[in-house]
C-alpha cells in the first residue's frame, strides 16, 4: 500500500528536487533523473511482490478524503491491468532518460523535470480510482508532454504541441462534463461506489442518458488512443517530438485512452458499449487497414512508425469491443506489447536521427554495413512489431483476432489484413534503410550502438522475447481483472433486460 503511494510521491519529489539543481550543471540533472527513475522502477517492481495475481479486484488501495464537499477522495489502487501499465511507465522512464542523454543539450534540467512530472501524471492515471482524481492526473500528464514537444521538438514543434494540447483538451472537457453529471446523480466520484450503485440498481441511467455519457467518455478516450478519424494529431506530435517524447507518447500516453475505454466505458455503460460496438469496431478495423496503408507510403521514418501505431491500436480497440475474454486479454496484452516494440522502434529511429540528422528514409540505405548491431536490433524490433511468433506482438494480436473471431468472424478476417500489411511496411522500411549500397554520407555518419544505447536497448529486446515466449507471466492477472469487467457487463445486460421486460428478467435470473 505504501509502495503504491511511493510510486506517486517519488516522481513528484524528484520533479521538485530537479528544479533545485543549478542550471549550470546539466550533468547533475541527468544523473539525478536517471537515479530517481531507477529508484521508482525498483519500487514499482516491489509492487509485484505484494500483488496477488489471482485476485481480479483492486489491491494495495489507499482511500483518504481530499476535498470534503463535493466529496473527492484520494483513492488509488491497482488491479491486474493497471499494475502492468504502471510497470510499463516506470520501466520506460529510465529508458527515456538514457536515450536523451546526448540528444537533449539545451535546458537539460527542465527537460528531465518535465519527464518526471510526466511520469507522475501517467502513473496517476493508471492508479486513480476516483473519477475526479483520474481527470486531474489525465490533465497533469498533458502539460509536461506539451512542453516536451514544444520546446525540444523539431521544426514544426509548436504547431504539433498546440494541436496535441487542443485535441486532448477538447475531448477531456466533455469527459469532465460527463463526470460531473454522474456525480450529480450518484453523489460520488468513487469508482467502486459508482459501480456498486450501478450494479445494485440504486442508480439507473436512461438509455439516452447512458448513451450520451458513454459518448462523452468515449470521444475523450478515442482521441487519445487515437481511433480513426480522431488520429490526425498523432503523426504531427510524433514526428515533431524529441525521441524520448515519442517513446513515452507512443508507449504509455496512448494507453491512457485504451485504459480509459476498458476501465470506464465498458463497466460504467455496458448497454451503450454494446449498442455502439458495431460502428466502433468498424472504425477500429478501418484504422487497422488505413493506418497500415498510409504507413506504407510514408517517406519519413517517424511518420511511418506513428501510422503503424494507429494500425496497432486499432487491434486494441477491436479486442476491447469484441467483449470476449480472449479479446480483452489480447487488447491489454497488446497495449503492453505496443509499448515495448513501438517504443523501441521510436528509440532506434531516434538513434539514427542523432547520427544522420535526417528522418527521411531516402537519406539512408546500407546502414547495416557501418552499423551491424543497430541493424540486427532494428530487425528484431521490426519482427516483434509485425507479429512474428515467439516475439511479443504475436501473442497479443493472436488473442485479439481469436476474440474477434468469437464475436464475429468477418471482423477477424479484415483485421488480419492489418497483420499482413504490417509485415510489408516494416520489412520494406528495413530494406530501404539498412540494406543495399551504403552512400558516403551514411558511411561517414553512421556508427554502431554505444554502451549507453545498449543499456537502453537491451532490456527492451529481452522483454520482447520474454513477453513472446512466457506470456504466462502476465496473462493470468490481466485475465482475472478482465473477467471482472466482463462479469459486470453481463450483469448490466441482465439488469436492463429485467428493467424493460420483467417477465423475461425473472427467467434469466432463475437460469443463473
Amino acid at each position: 500500500m505504501i509502495l503504491l503511494n511511493l510510486c506517486l510521491a517519488l516522481p513528484a519529489a524528484a520533479f521538485l528536487l530537479l528544479l533545485l539543481v543549478p542550471r549550470s550543471r546539466p550533468g547533475w540533472s541527468r544523473w539525478s533523473a536517471l537515479a530517481a527513475s531507477l529508484v521508482i522502477f525498483a519500487v514499482s517492481l516491489a509492487l509485484l511482490a505484494e500483488f496477488d495475481g489471482s485476485n481480479g479486484g483492486f489491491q494495495l488501495e489507499t482511500n483518504i478524503p481530499w476535498i470534503s464537499a463535493p466529496s473527492i477522495r484520494y483513492h488509488v489502487g491497482v488491479d491486474g491491468m493497471s499494475l502492468w501499465l504502471v510497470l510499463l511507465t516506470t520501466f520506460l522512464t529510465p529508458v527515456a532518460v538514457l536515450i536523451s542523454w546526448r540528444h537533449i543539450a539545451a535546458r537539460v534540467k527542465e527537460f528531465y523535470a518535465f519527464l518526471l512530472l510526466l511520469e507522475l501524471g501517467l502513473i496517476g492515471v493508471f492508479v486513480a480510482l476516483d473519477l475526479f482524481l483520474f481527470y486531474v492526473f489525465w490533465e497533469v500528464s498533458l502539460v509536461p508532454m506539451y512542453f516536451l514537444i514544444g520546446i525540444w521538438g523539431h521544426e514544426r514543434r509548436i504547431y504539433a504541441a498546440v494541436k496535441f494540447f487542443l485535441y486532448t483538451m477538447a475531448g477531456s472537457v466533455l469527459m469532465l462534463a460527463a463526470m460531473i453529471y454522474l456525480y450529480n446523480l450518484a453523489g460520488t466520484f468513487d469508482y467502486g461506489l459508482l459501480m456498486a450503485d450501478l450494479v445494485s440498481g440504486r442508480m439507473q441511467l436512461g438509455a439516452r442518458q447512458e448513451s450520451l455519457l458513454f459518448l462523452a467518455f468515449f470521444v475523450a478516450f478515442a482521441i487519445k488512443v487515437p481511433l480513426v478519424p480522431f488520429h490526425t494529431w498523432l503523426p504531427d506530435a510524433h514526428v515533431e517530438a524529441p525521441t524520448a517524447g515519442s517513446v513515452i507518447l507512443a508507449s504509455v500516453m496512448l494507453k491512457m485512452g485504451c485504459y480509459g475505454l476498458i476501465r470506464f466505458c465498458l463497466p460504467l455503460f455496458p448497454t451503450a458499449s454494446r449498442g455502439n460496438a458495431p460502428w466502433i469496431v468498424l472504425l477500429a478495423i478501418v484504422g487497422i487497414i488505413y493506418g497500415a496503408l498510409v504507413a506504407m507510403v510514408q517517406p519519413n521514418m517517424k511518420k511511418l512508425v506513428a501510422y503503424s501505431s494507429v494500425s496497432h491500436l486499432g487491434f486494441v480497440v477491436l479486442g476491447v469491443f469484441s467483449f470476449t475474454q480472449l479479446g480483452l486479454d489480447g487488447a491489454v496484452y497488446q497495449m503492453l506489447n505496443h509499448g515495448i516494440s513501438t517504443g523501441a522502434l521510436f528509440m532506434l529511429v531516434g538513434y539514427m536521427y542523432e547520427r544522420r540528422h535526417s528522418l527521411e528514409i531516402s537519406a539512408y540505405g546500407g546502414v547495416a554495413t557501418p552499423a551491424p548491431m543497430l541493424a540486427s536490433v532494428f530487425m528484431i524490433t521490426s519482427l516483434a512489431s509485425l507479429g512474428l511468433p515467439s516475439l511479443n506482438n504475436f501473442v497479443g494480436e493472436f488473442l485479439v483476432l481469436q476474440g474477434a473471431a468469437q464475436a464475429n468472424f468477418t471482423w477477424a478476417v479484415f483485421a488480419a489484413i492489418g497483420v499482413i500489411l504490417s509485415a510489408c511496411y516494416l520489412l520494406w522500411l528495413y530494406q530501404r534503410t539498412f540494406l543495399g549500397e551504403a552512400s558516403d554520407e551514411v558511411k561517414s555518419h553512421m556508427f554502431d550502438l554505444v554502451p549507453r544505447e545498449w543499456a537502453a536497448t537491451l532490456p527492451m529486446i529481452v522483454l520482447m522475447v520474454w513477453m513472446g515466449v512466457a506470456a504466462q507471466t502476465f496473462l493470468p492477472s490481466i485475465g482475472a481483472a478482465n473477467a471482472r469487467i466482463l462479469d459486470r457487463m453481463q450483469q448490466g445486460v441482465v439488469m436492463d433486460v429485467k428493467n424493460t421486460m420483467p417477465a423475461r428478467g425473472t427467467e434469466v435470473a432463475r437460469a443463473r
Binding site: A69, A161, L166, L174, I180
Partner: protein
C-alpha cells in the same frame, strides 16, 4: 424608527473596514501636499497598512454578524467573504503599483487615496442590503476608478480610456438607477428582503409583469461593471489604455464587488421571479463566453488579450448565476477568489515586463522570457494554466464548481458549450506560453531587472494562492458553501 438616529457602537463596528479605508485615504490626501515629489511613494505604506487593518476588521466582523443602519448594511458570511476579497485585491494592487509608479515618475499619494476610496466603495457594496446602498457603494467605487484609469494624464491613451469608461459607466449606472426606481414602484421598497417577500406572493403582486423589465434594467447596470455581453465592449479599450496595475485592479475588485451585488439582488431580492431573469442570464453567459474567448484568439497586445479573457471569465461566472442555486452561489464565490488571484497575478507579471511607458506589452515582447527571466515566466505560466483551467490550480476548481452547479440545474447545453469555449481559450493562453518558452528573445529585448520588492511579493502571493486553492480548495470552499446559504 424613533429610537435614535445616532448609530450604536455595534453598528459602527459593522462598517469598521470602510471607516478605516476612508480614514486612511483621507490621511493620505492630507499628507500628500506635505511630502514632496518622489517621496510620496512612501504613502503607499499608509495605503498598505490601512488595507491590512481593514482586512483584519472585515475578518473580525464575521464574528459579530448582523444588520446596521436600519438594515441598510448587513454583515454576514457572504458580506465578509466579498469584503475580504476586495480588500485583498486592493492589497495586491497596492503592492503591484509601487514599482510601476516609480518607473513612470508618477509617484503620488492621490493614487493610493483613490485606490482606497474605490476599495471602500466595493467593500460597502459587498455588505449592502438595500438597493440605494448598493447604488451608493457602486458610485463610490466607480468614480474613484474612473480617475484611476486616467491617472497617467499625459498619456493620450489613458485619457481616452478614462473618458470612455466614465461615459459608458455613468450611462449604465443610470439604467441601474432606473431599474431601482421601477422595483420601488412595484414593491414599494428598496430593502432587499422586503422586495423578496413581495415577489414571493407571486402572481398577485400588482405590476409583476413589469418586474422582468425592472430586472433587465438592473442587469444592464451590473453587466456593465462585470463586462458581460452586451456591455463588454468598453473593457478591452479601457484595460489597454489604463496603467497596468489599474487594469489589474479594474479586472479584480470592481468585478468581485459587482458579482457580490449581482448575487444579492438577483438571488436574494429577485430570487422568487427567477424564471423571468434566468433566460436573460443564460443568453448573456453564453454570448459573453463566446465573444470573450473568440475575440481573444486574435489579440496581439497582452493587455487586450487579458481583457478579453476577463470577459470570458465573467461569462463563466454568469453560468453559475444562471444555475440559480446555493451551489451556484458558492461557485460564484469560489470563482471570484480564484479569478482575483490568477488575474491580478498575470497583470502583475505584465507590469513587471512592460517596462517604462509600457513599451513592451505586445505578445512578441514576451519572447524568450523563459530564458531571460525563468522565475517570472514560470509564475506567469502558473497563472495562465490556471486561467485555462488545468488541474491543481485554482482556476480548475473554479470552473469545476461552476459547471457542476450548471449541470445540477440541468443546464446541459450551456455547460457543454461553455466547456468547449474554455477549450478554445486554451489556445490563446498557450500562445503566450509558446512565445515565452519556444521563441527566441528579440534582439531589442529589454534588460529586465529581477522580480523583486513589492511587485515580486504581489506575484508570489498570487501564485501561492493559485496553487494552494488548486490543491486544497476546501480551505475556502466550505466557507463559501456555508455563506451561500445566506444569500438565498
Amino acid at each position: 424608527m424613533p429610537d435614535s438616529f445616532i448609530p450604536t457602537s455595534a453598528e459602527l463596528l459593522r462598517i469598521l473596514p470602510e471607516i478605516i479605508l476612508v480614514l486612511a485615504a483621507t490621511l493620505i490626501m492630507v499628507l500628500a501636499p506635505l511630502v514632496k515629489g518622489r517621496e510620496q511613494n512612501a504613502l503607499g505604506y499608509v495605503s498598505l497598512y490601512g488595507l491590512v487593518a481593514a482586512l483584519a476588521a472585515a475578518l473580525s466582523g464575521y464574528f459579530d454578524p448582523g444588520p446596521a443602519f436600519h438594515q441598510l448594511i448587513l454583515v454576514d458570511g457572504f458580506a465578509t467573504y466579498f469584503r475580504v476579497l476586495v480588500i485583498f485585491a486592493g492589497i495586491l494592487t497596492t503592492l503591484a503599483s509601487y514599482q510601476y509608479l516609480r518607473r513612470e515618475d508618477a509617484d503620488s499619494g492621490e493614487y493610493y487615496a483613490l485606490l482606497l476610496f474605490s476599495v471602500s466603495g466595493q467593500s460597502l457594496m459587498a455588505a449592502s442590503n438595500d438597493l440605494i446602498m448598493i447604488f451608493i457603494g457602486l458610485e463610490i467605487s466607480s468614480l474613484a476608478s474612473y480617475v484611476m484609469a486616467g491617472f497617467l494624464r499625459n498619456r493620450a491613451q489613458a485619457i481616452e480610456a478614462a473618458l470612455k469608461y466614465f461615459l459608458l459607466g455613468s450611462f449604465a449606472t443610470a439604467f441601474l438607477l432606473y431599474g431601482v426606481a421601477w422595483i420601488y414602484g412595484i414593491t414599494g421598497s428598496t430593502y432587499l428582503l422586503t422586495i423578496r417577500s413581495v415577489f414571493e406572493r407571486g402572481a398577485q403582486t400588482p405590476g409583476i409583469l413589469l418586474a422582468g423589465a425592472a430586472a433587465a434594467l438592473i442587469f444592464v447596470g451590473f453587466a456593465f461593471k462585470v463586462a458581460a455581453w452586451p456591455f463588454q465592449s468598453w473593457a478591452p479599450d479601457v484595460y489597454q489604455g489604463a496603467p497596468v496595475p489599474v487594469a489589474a485592479f479594474l479586472s479584480a475588485g470592481p468585478k468581485a464587488a459587482a458579482f457580490a451585488v449581482f448575487v444579492r439582488v438577483f438571488v436574494t431580492a429577485l430570487g422568487p421571479i427567477g424564471g423571468r431573469w434566468e433566460p436573460l442570464f443564460w443568453l448573456s453567459a453564453l454570448a459573453t463566453m463566446l465573444i470573450g474567448n473568440f475575440a481573444a484568439l486574435v489579440q496581439t497586445n497582452i493587455k487586450r488579450l487579458l481583457a478579453y479573457s476577463s470577459i470570458a471569465h465573467a461569462g463563466y461566472v454568469l453560468v453559475a448565476m444562471t444555475a440559480h442555486s446555493e451551489i451556484g452561489t458558492a461557485a460564484v464565490m469560489f470563482y471570484m477568489a480564484a479569478y482575483v488571484l490568477m488575474n491580478v497575478g498575470a497583470f502583475a507579471v505584465v507590469a513587471h515586463v512592460c517596462g517604462r511607458q509600457e513599451r513592451f506589452v505586445e505578445l512578441e515582447d514576451f519572447a524568450g522570457l523563459g530564458e531571460r527571466q525563468p522565475v517570472s515566466a514560470a509564475l506567469l505560466t502558473v497563472f495562465l494554466l490556471s486561467l485555462i483551467g488545468v488541474p491543481l490550480t485554482a482556476g480548475f476548481f473554479g470552473k469545476f464548481y461552476i459547471f457542476r452547479a450548471a449541470l445540477q440545474a440541468d443546464l446541459v447545453w450551456l455547460t457543454v458549450l461553455g466547456l468547449l469555449a474554455s477549450a478554445v481559450a486554451a489556445y490563446y493562453y498557450l500562445r503566450i506560453i509558446v512565445i515565452m518558452y519556444m521563441h527566441q528573445p528579440a534582439e531589442s529585448a529589454a534588460e529586465l531587472p529581477p522580480l523583486r520588492g513589492a511587485l515580486g511579493a504581489a506575484v508570489w502571493i498570487s501564485a501561492a494562492g493559485t496553487l494552494v486553492l488548486g490543491i486544497f480548495p476546501s480551505l475556502i470552499l466550505n466557507f463559501a458553501g456555508n455563506s451561500a446559504l445566506l444569500a438565498r
